[in-house]
């Protein structure tokens, strides 16, 4: 299956780029992620628990980054084995463009599933994958720029601007 989309993130391109390579951000962004460690250079190992239609499984897998053109684009490839539940694998081409408000992130995802996931979940898999992608980038955006929840916004303004935890972290370190 094939999906694509864009997100406008209120952060500069270098910040978004750094976030994409950060294990903690990825862990917080991947829905159902239990564990994630490793580095952008050597690849990440992840454990993710998800329910697809009637199949609930824990996937162990790897995420590798390649074709890295800092800070413009990269390719992200993932593969997870869910034991008796089957497997999922996919790749995403991610590009970052500078815009007036920050960065436009464009993604182009190809994913496939196999085994029981395909046998039992094929009717729901497209919707599931779209939901996963939406959630991932939603959470990624939140991590980078802070929650979009309007009730939290005034407080954020009061403490000197709305910032995501990653942005705060990056700025503090800087």
């Amino acid at each position: 299956m094939h999906m694509s989309g864009t997100r406008d993130i209120r952060a500069d391109r270098e910040t978004v780029w750094a976030a994409l390579l950060d294990a903690e951000v990825l862990k917080a962004s991947v829905p159902g992620c239990q564990e994630l460690d490793g580095t952008a250079e050597e690849g990440f190992h992840a454990t993710v628990t998800q329910k697809v239609g009637p199949v609930k499984a824990t996937f162990k897998g790897t995420v590798t980054l390649s074709e890295m053109k800092e800070p413009e684009s990269l390719h992200l490839a993932g593969e997870g084995k869910g034991g008796a539940a089957g497997f999922a694998k996919g790749g995403a081409d991610v590009t970052l463009e500078e815009t007036e408000e920050g960065t436009r992130l464009t993604y182009d995802v190809d994913a496939k599933v196999g085994g029981k996931l395909a046998q039992l979940g094929s009717r729901v898999i497209d919707g599931f994958a779209k939901k996963m992608a939406d959630q991932f980038f939603e959470r990624f955006q939140e991590a980078v720029e802070g929650p979009s929840d309007p009730e939290e916004a005034p407080e954020a303004e009061a403490t000197g601007g709305k910032k995501g935890w990653f942005k705060r972290l990056v700025k503090r370190d800087a």
């Binding site: 008796a84 029981k116 395909a118 039992l120």
Partner: protein, 787 residues
């Protein structure tokens, strides 16, 4: 008045007492002392190179006895194919090795990668999850035409291509057919798909292997339609166990529909593992496993051309079919699109020139083999759809076009090698017009239209070749087996009878209908006769049940054996009555000296045979038991005419079957109630194919319809109350009972009439739709209506 016993009586199915009260003895009910359980780790990718399998963690897990992989089967034979097709150029088909457990590569989702044997099912399953493997995924081939491209990935790299064979039939007809099509007044062309199906018997497959060291004897309990065939294939070709050391038992079996004919890897595995481990090993398929390991059915893509002259006589038929074999050749797979398909392309019609081309193709999918009808539904569907399309193109009545071209004189030799011995196609069409109420259709259509619905009437005929099959003929055609059958009639001392038959009953009701024949012949009560089947240690070497052959072939063997019993019993009676053997008559269980009142009862004669005090020991042996083998002289040719009436909801494309009528000619009928049931079941399966069922793969070879959430089986509200009739009877001319067989007719004859009816309904609403491929789901029908 209907008979209440013997041939023609609607005797109640005696086996239903145990089936309906939960006291059947199915393979899964068999549990042996010290039994182990196997769980098969199956490939979840369609095509890949096995780089590494590590079973060490799994082997250390609690309760695990041993983990087997392809390596353990390197010295063991592969699963044999029972039919070799010769291609158009005289070369044998390409026949790949078919390992019990994958070796080097996996070639379809569901193929066995490893087998864990443990002391419980759950522990075996848990340990299977701990097997580590590395499979390098290769591009999969799923689409048949793409599989034949020169640069397509090869399913088997040791074969020259993915083409199993390119079969032409009859090759000598080819030029004549091309010429007839070139010069025809009208040619109707239709391209269609015969959708892949999963058999889905109610009982999934089960196998229990057992081995006794002291006697060196192996026993396989399995869900099979033909235990002797399994014993022969597995013993001789896979495991090398001599037949006297191998017993195969197929106890109560909950439906097969063809899918339980074949010899499967799991059967060989449990028998092998039981010998290795010295303990019984049991496998029970889950429904998910059944979807990806039971042989699938159909899966043909066909182009058919029908040529007609100016008077609408059929002059030629030319077909080109791609038939999916799946990743390996299942036991009888090559015969299905060829000899069970091409030979039926004449249908019920006089078409002087026919040429059938079939390309059988390997793909990364589950093997495909015989499923109820096997080749004959595919032939019937394309022929009856193209005739309907021709009638529409020519603006003539589809029933009249059929009648005009019916074969009316018998025997009739078709241009596709078979000879119909008898039939009366106008009679079944007349009967159909009556029971389907053709006359009332227009009024029903108006009534539907008043409710905003489109109503259509679809009709088709069918013919099938059953009573499979003359051994010398099928031997010439490539069969690696004989197709006779056998029966032993064992008369007991007090006159009751046990009949050991080679046929296997798994829903057909043999335990009821076979005794009716013997009761008729001897004039004794049916309750005095029992059938023994399904155990190679008890029954003679028969070939089992498929191809609507049981009563026509095994029943004939039973008649021959009973005739031998009667001949001997008459000798005994003649002795007891001090009369000449030639004067003895048997009627109503009494032996009488013709023209006198001197008689002796059946029971007195049988007792004399076993207590031979007053007995002609110098002339005949004691005892009363006879065996006969029967090899049919020809196929039988059941035929009939079916009509379906549908309503289509123009808003949604939803099809509802309002009426369905079936007029069949099965020759003589032993038990009309059982025949009704067979037709009902067949119709439900045919309607399922036409409207609901579809086995689907994605482009990567993933099976995406592997549960009842995605594979739509027909339910009670999908089928109407049927009108069935089998009163048109032209008895088979070459078997002693005059029977033809009825097991597959419903599934063969029904899909075209359903599709014809939907097309008719759409045309009545102004939608000029030429064809929709099965299954006719609401979305497909709706899309077709949008043009």
């Amino acid at each position: 008045m209907p008979k209440d016993h013997g041939i023609g009586a609607a005797s109640k199915r005696r086996e239903d007492v145990r089936f309906l009260t939960g006291t059947g003895n199915y393979t899964d009910d068999i549990n042996l002392p010290r039994q182990l359980y196997v769980h098969f780790l199956r490939s979840d990718i369609a095509h890949g190179e096995i780089r590494h399998i590590d079973t060490s963690t799994a082997e250390g897990m609690p309760g695990v006895k041993r983990v087997f992989t392809g390596k353990d089967f390197e010295g063991v034979g592969g699963l044999p194919c029972g039919w070799q097709v010769t291609d158009r150029h005289g070369a044998p088909m390409q026949e790949p090795a078919h390992p019990v457990i994958a070796q080097g590569k996996v070639r379809h989702v569901g193929e066995i990668l490893a087998a864990v044997v443990a002391d419980s099912r759950e522990r075996a399953r848990d340990a299977a999850e701990a097997i580590e493997f590395d499979i390098a995924e290769l591009p999969a081939v799923v689409d048949m035409k793409a599989a034949l491209a020169s640069d397509a990935p090869k399913v088997h790299e040791d074969l020259t291509s993915n083409l199993c064979y390119d079969w032409g039939f009859v090759e000598d007809n080819r030029d004549k057919v091309d010429e007839a099509i070139r010069t025809a007044a009208h040619v109707t062309t239709l391209e269609l798909v015969n959708n892949r199906l999963v058999a889905n018997p109610m009982e999934p497959r089960v196998a229990v292997g057992d081995y006794h060291r002291a006697t060196d004897e192996s026993t396989l309990y399995t869900t099979s339609q033909n235990p002797h065939v399994i014993r022969l294939l597995m013993g001789a070709f896979v495991l090398g166990i001599p037949e006297h050391k191998l017993r195969v038992v197929a106890p109560d079996v909950g439906g097969g529909f063809g899918s339980k004919i074949f010899h499967y890897a799991e059967e060989a595995f449990v028998t092998f593992a039981a010998r290795q481990l010295g303990r019984p090993v049991k496998w029970t398929s889950t429904r998910s496993e059944a979807f990806m390991s039971d042989a699938h059915g159909r899966d043909h893509v066909t182009k058919i051309e029908l040529a007609l002259d100016a008077d609408h006589n059929f002059t030629a038929i030319r077909t080109e079919t791609h038939a999916n074999m799946g990743a390996y050749l299942s036991t009888f797979a090559p015969s299905v699109p060829t000899w069970l398909h091409g030979t039926l392309m004449a249908g019920n019609y006089r078409t002087p020139a026919i040429y059938v081309n079939v390309k059988a193709v390997f793909t990364n999918t589950v093997p495909v083999d015989a499923y109820r009808g096997a080749g004959r539904p595919e032939a019937t569907y394309q022929l009856e759809r193209v005739i309907d399309k021709a009638a529409r193109e020519l603006g003539v009545d589809p029933v009249e076009l059929r009648r005009k071209n019916f074969v009316t004189e018998f025997p009739y030799a078709t241009p596709v090698a078979v000879e119909y011995d008898t039939g009366d196609y106008n009679a079944t069409m007349d009967k159909l017009a009556e029971i389907a109420d053709f006359a009332g259709f227009e009024a029903r259509r108006k009534e539907s239209e008043a409710r905003g619905k489109l109503r259509g009437l679809g009709v088709n005929c069918y013919i099938e070749a059953c009573g499979i099959a003359p051994s010398n003929l099928v031997g010439q055609l490539g069969a690696r087996a004989g197709l006779y059958d056998a029966a032993t009639v064992r008369v007991n001392a007090t006159g009751s009878i046990s009949v050991m038959v080679g046929a296997h009953s798994h829903g057909q009701g043999h335990e009821t209908s076979f005794p009716q024949v013997i009761a008729e012949m001897l004039g004794i009560d049916e309750s005095q006769v029992d059938i023994v089947h399904g155990d190679t240690s008890k029954i003679p070497f028969g070939m089992g049940t498929y191809g609507s052959r049981s009563i026509a072939v095994c029943g004939s063997a039973m008649v021959r054996a009973t005739e031998k019993v009667i001949a001997k019993a008459k000798k005994i009676a003649a002795h007891l009555l001090e009369a000449s053997e030639a004067d003895i008559e048997l009627k109503d269980g009494q032996f009488t000296v013709a023209g006198t009142d001197k008689s002796v009862a059946w029971g007195d004669v049988t007792l004399a045979a076993y207590v031979p005090h007053n007995y002609p020991l110098e002339d005949i042996e004691p005892g009363l038991e006879e065996t006969a083998f029967y090899d049919p002289a020809n196929f039988t040719f059941p035929a009939g005419a079916y009509a379906c009436e549908v309503e289509v909801d123009p808003e949604t494309g939803k099809v509802t079957i309002e009426r369905f009528a079936a007029a069949d000619d099965f020759g003589n009928v032993i038990n009309p109630m059982i025949v009704d049931g067979q037709v009902h079941g067949g119709l439900a399966q045919g309607i399922g194919q036409a409207l609901l069922e579809n086995c689907a793969y994605d482009a990567n070879g993933q099976l995406v319809s592997a549960s009842y959430m995605d594979y739509a089986m027909p339910r009670a509200d999908d089928v109407p109350f049927y009108a069935v009739d089998h009163s048109c009877q032209t008895p088979c001319t070459h078997n002693p009972l005059g029977v033809k067989g009825c097991g597959e007719a419903g599934a063969i004859g029904s899909p075209p009439s359903v599709v014809n009816a939907v097309i008719d309904a759409l045309h009545s609403g102004g939608h000029k739709v030429a064809h929709i491929d099965m299954p006719l789901t609401p979305s497909r029908v709706w899309a077709a209506m949008q043009g």
